[in-house]
Symmetry: C2
Subunit: 571 residues, 2 copies
């Protein structure tokens, strides 16, 4: 255990306290007896505590309780030889263990994995599972970063889940949050300089990545990444909000993390990937280190979402104000980033930079995700805002686009359940403070604070749980079938997975868009009226795929009703 400024450290186990021995570099060590069920322990630093271990592998009694070593019996993995599909061919499905099923555990999620395989998904992306305070939460306020949440099934449950995914050919990505820790149960500052006041983030003090002691703080996160990939067989990481990393080191933390992930993969003979969530629109994120980049495999690109959402809903509040019109969407499909250095009205400053050589396999795009849904006051999914026909057009552009598509749980059947913001904070006053902060924030944007559900109310969580019976119901089934058909096409035709950006033609007047993907042409009507998409002469007269019976050949083009989609093969 690392506690560089401590004078005396003790470990407490089974009500017995013993001093730890100082080692080089601020480390402390002690030996504990091994127990078949794991050994409980906690640390007392200069008389303060006991605190759980910052690197605790298991917190069976929650974030405030003692840590516990893992049982010595090794987990019986059955995924030998599993290899993840390469990112360029990936279809990602974002999943929140606590609401994916009624049970809300790793174990209860396993029976639903076959549904994902049939859907055409290749990668499951788990929202953060590191132990956070309470039983219910999105996971972005984790504090025991090495311990899978007990309420989800703990270390054993997670291993069973990953193993079950791998047996079905599904890779697993894990969302990790290294830019801040949650507000409750964060004892790191008692151990060392994990935080710095030199920089601020939306969550307070920044993680110390370049100040005194940062070599060990970085190691704390790097080793955490290694643990998930090596001990939990996870196939890749999705790193939360990298814009909140403040690091002036010559070797930026993101570059070091990407290098660590790739080197580990080489050592293990597995293809391990790292994906960054970034709102920087910075080409360096995914450029290789030889080109001065951070060597991240792919990054989330909100620009596609914002362009599509603003266009289809007409919303123009907040960041949507920088998007809108067909041109934004066309740029996202052709160039990746829409904001490439011009003035952003929302940010009140210049933003972004063009990708010199945009590649689809470096961009993760989506029409919906946990944030875009959950950060609306009522947690409305896109299906609550637009018609089913429009949703089909949105799915076509998203799932046949040049990027790596990502679906959010339930999106495949236009789930009726919202995805609201829920917490289960136990510290007196903290839950109410979060709820009130959230209401204030929305009120500032003109929403009625009374419409914002209370995050602490267990009902808020319950409402967000998927209803699996729904998917066989009228309307929902149609969307599910359409999603399957689109993914079948994507997964069967290499032209959709060649990494080339799309070539796009579009009309602002009639709001159609024609997207070329190799030999294929995807025409969509994103406007409120009918339109004729000028399908090229070389296209076969018989379309490969249409979204509805209303699509027909007319005047040298494809007639599309609102929300209509047509896919042709040319040449």
């Amino acid at each position: 255990m690392w506690a560089p400024a401590a004078h005396r450290v003790e470990v407490e186990s089974a009500e017995h306290r013993m001093p730890m021995s100082p080692e080089a570099g601020g480390w402390w060590s002690a030996s504990l007896p091994t127990r078949a069920e794991g050994t409980p322990y906690a640390f007392v630093v200069d008389g303060h505590g006991p605190f759980p271990d910052p690197r605790s592998p298991w917190q069976p009694e929650g974030v405030h309780g003692p840590s516990r070593t893992l049982p010595p019996e090794p987990f019986p993995w059955s995924d030998q030889g599993f290899q993840a599909v390469p990112l360029g061919a990936a279809v990602i499905y974002e999943l929140h263990i606590g609401t994916f099923t009624e049970g809300g555990t790793f174990g209860s999620a396993i029976p639903r994995l076959d549904h994902l395989v049939e859907l055409g998904v290749t990668h499951v992306e788990l929202m953060p599972v590191a132990h956070f305070a309470g039983d219910r939460g999105w996971g972005y306020d984790g504090v025991a970063l090495y311990a899978p949440h007990a309420a989800y099934g703990g270390p054993e449950g997670m291993k069973r889940f990953v193993d079950a995914c791998h047996r079905r050919g599904l890779a697993v990505l894990l969302d990790v949050v290294y830019n801040h820790l949650g507000p409750e149960g964060n004892y790191l500052a008692h151990f060392g300089p994990y935080f710095t006041e030199h920089y601020s983030t939306p969550w307070g003090a920044a993680v110390n990545l370049d100040g005194p002691g940062s070599h060990e703080v970085r190691r704390f996160f790097l080793d955490n990444a290694r643990m998930w990939l090596r001990d939990y067989h996870v196939d890749g990481l999705r790193v939360d909000a990298i814009q909140a990393f403040h690091d002036r080191s010559a070797l930026h933390f993101m570059e070091e993390l990407a290098e660590e992930v790739h080197r580990l993969g080489q050592g293990l003979g597995r293809h391990l990937v790292i994906i960054a969530e970034s709102d920087l629109n910075d080409p360096r994120t995914t450029l290789p280190p030889e080109a001065g980049g951070h060597g991240v495999d792919a990054q989330w690109s909100d620009d596609f979402h914002h362009a599509l959402h603003a266009l289809i809903t007409g919303e123009e509040e907040g960041y949507y104000g920088d998007f809108g019109g067909m041109e934004s969407l066309a740029r996202a499909l052709e160039e990746g980033f829409v904001q490439t250095g011009g003035l952003s009205r929302y940010r009140g400053r210049s933003h972004g930079r063009p990708l010199a050589e945009p590649r689809g396999e470096r961009l993760v795009c989506f029409a919906q995700n946990h944030d875009q849904i959950g950060n609306r006051p009522g947690g409305d999914r896109l299906g609550h805002l637009i018609s089913r026909r429009e949703l089909k057009a949105v799915l076509a552009v998203t799932l046949l686009g040049p990027h790596i598509p990502l679906l959010f749980q339930g999106e495949e059947w236009a789930a009726g359940s919202p995805f609201q913001y829920f917490t289960d904070l136990r510290e007196p006053g903290l839950g109410r403070a979060v709820a009130e902060g959230r209401r204030r924030e929305f009120a500032a944007f003109g929403w009625d604070p009374e419409e914002v559900p209370d995050p602490q109310d267990p009902e808020t969580h319950r409402r967000s749980v998927l209803d699996w019976n729904e998917r066989e119901k009228e309307g929902h089934r149609e969307i599910l079938e359409w999603t399957r058909v689109l993914l079948r096409l994507r997964n069967s035709e290499p032209d959709f997975r060649d990494g080339e950006m799309a070539r796009v033609r579009w009309s602002d007047t009639n709001q159609w868009l024609l997207m070329a993907r190799g030999r294929f042409q995807v025409g969509v009507n994103l406007g409120p009226g009918e339109c004729v998409v000028p399908v090229p002469d070389s296209a076969a007269l018989t379309p490969l795929l249409v979204s509805s019976g209303g699509v027909r050949w007319e005047n040298g083009g494809a007639f599309l009703p609102p929300g209509g989609v047509v896919v042709f093969r040319t040449g």
Copy 2:
């Protein structure tokens, strides 16, 4: 004038106040009558003020007084066709206008320029001249960034100085401070969001380079750079402490600034350069943008200084603790950076990264500079700490090394005057606060606070003024002559300016160092005893240059007394 949040702006001129008209993007404009001697003016923002113009070209009454437009009569430049020597062949001379001569002005400096030409200097580097509070100061607390200091001679004086340099073939570099403004006379925050509390610097709030409004704040500094290069004919900029720029934009401010400087140079048909002071040891600083770098032409590298200083003085306080021994110096000469990713004891963290392809013309190195001298309590020059013989060895390594050498004013004759920290702050209490802060800082390092001169005392400034009579005196003349000889060799032999790093052999036991520079070998004795440097067989028996009569050929090598230097040509 830019004041994006203001509701009402007025301009005051000759006791007459008139409203200004709002323009797009938060700008305000008004027309003033032209006067032959320049028109005084100041701004009143929402009833506050009058304040001087943030972009004031002239502050004849100091930083608190009204601004003044420049007289319409154009300056009679006589430097047509002047081109600066390329950086790779440069010898830089750092100069502080206020102490370079008794007069302390641009005008009084001009008669001393011929001395620099005779010495072998190619570039004069001016310490900051932007108007700071009071008459005396180093210049790093400038607040009127567009106005050359009135006490130095103002805009007219500066133009005459640059013109005089160019007529003698001397290029002019200017030190610019864009990472903070001084504590007195900084009215910028009344105009717009020039600062941010999101990041902190050693001087307080950071300059806002990536928050709302930052597009104009960056433009403020970019236009300042353009002004010096275009209107004052300056040949390049030395940008102070770039580690204090906090910018998460996809286009980093340093890259944008470098691009701006180079594009301006192309437009003007002049070779304009940008040099960064950086303690980041980050290769990206000088890598070209195509390689993911910031495209800066060269950077100050303190590692050479620290390695040499720690070796020759035996000091090991503060940052010197990370250096020492012959190996640090050898690494600086061979690889540029000494700290390349290992743990720095001084910083308490990992630091730096290797330069993949180090080049001498990208590194500015020195045995002394304003900071290394002036940030010692008594402002002691190296010549006060070591013997004259040792100083000659230090000069040989510095001036014949692979980097761009920089001399600090008076170093060429081992000036007896110190360079102490002096200020002339007028705001009540501020001067005393600075003086006391300085005493406390040194006391923390174990110095007697009584030994720290009062920065506000005019005597502190006076003591730091060069004594030009001294250079003809015993001892001083010897160093001056030695400096001339070394620079004559460097400037006459292209091998010393080929940009290749040195190949070095050295002995820790006997503390000799043998540095190969193309066909030349430079042997120096940096230890307290005599030594024999193993000059290669191919070296001629007759040395090209020796530092003293004590050097002789012995046992297949060159016998060197302490501080001895010998230069051979091989092949």
